[in-house]
């Protein structure tokens, strides 16, 4: 089945530092989605990337989709304590349907104020 590797597993930063998490797939993806889960909370959709080489920004968050559509990254500039949580990438079933999302293992971000 579709597998996606996400690194790092944990990242601890000082407030104001940048943060990046990466997802890699061995197969070409139709799209990739990013979710954030606060401690004790539920996954909240952040963004979906569809096009090769796509870059999208949401305030301090920058999302990239690789040219080969096999990898993606989420970069946070100047982290704040409100950024704390686990960031997951999720990819659809290899046939392109979004019926089934396969989640990466997530990157737990902690921010020291």
């Amino acid at each position: 089945g579709q597998q996606v590797m996400q690194i790092p597993q944990y990242q601890h930063v000082q407030e104001g530092e940048d943060f990046t998490t990466y997802c890699n797939s061995s197969t070409t993806l139709s799209n990739i989605q990013w979710y954030k889960q606060r401690p004790g909370g539920h996954p909240v959709f952040l963004i979906q990337l569809v096009k090769s080489g796509e870059v999208k920004k949401q305030k301090r968050l920058t999302f990239q989709f690789g040219e080969a559509k096999k990898n993606s990254s989420l970069h946070i500039t100047a982290t704040q304590t409100t950024d704390v949580g686990t960031y997951f990438c999720a990819v659809p079933l290899s046939g392109g349907s979004n019926y089934k999302l396969t989640f990466g293992k997530g990157t737990l971000l902690t921010v020291n104020p």
Binding site: F45, N98, Y99, K100, K105
Partner: protein, 113 residues
């Protein structure tokens, strides 16, 4: 803003007992999903449901699990004879189409004793 609601927020049960987890998807959504998350681990797909039938299910979703849409608003997950390893957070999600983003409920924490 419309949201997916799940009840109960926490369910404690004895091993071998049946449990039913309930979800009310967003009203104009047509695709429904169940995921589970064992404490500290990634979100795992269980099953997707469309047009009153299962579209896709994972290896986790064995004969002990079933889903139902008993009326126009509820979507339920039943575990017939719970095992200790069924203890997890169970998330319901819904989407308007198969290609749309999935909105997650707050989850039901199932504790099997």
């Amino acid at each position: 803003e419309p949201e997916v609601t799940q009840t109960p927020s926490h369910q404690v049960t004895q091993m071998g007992q049946e449990v039913i987890l309930r979800c009310v998807p967003i009203s104009n959504h047509l695709y429904f999903y169940w995921y589970r998350q064992i404490l500290g681990q990634k979100v795992e797909f269980l099953v997707s449901f469309y047009n009153n039938e299962i579209s896709e299910k994972s290896e986790i979703f064995d004969d002990q699990f079933s889903v139902e849409r008993p009326d126009g608003s509820n979507f339920t997950l039943k575990i017939r004879s719970t095992k200790l390893e069924d203890s997890a957070m169970y998330f319901c999600a819904s989407s308007r189409t198969s290609q749309n983003i999935q909105y997650f409920g707050a989850g039901t924490r199932l504790s099997v004793l």
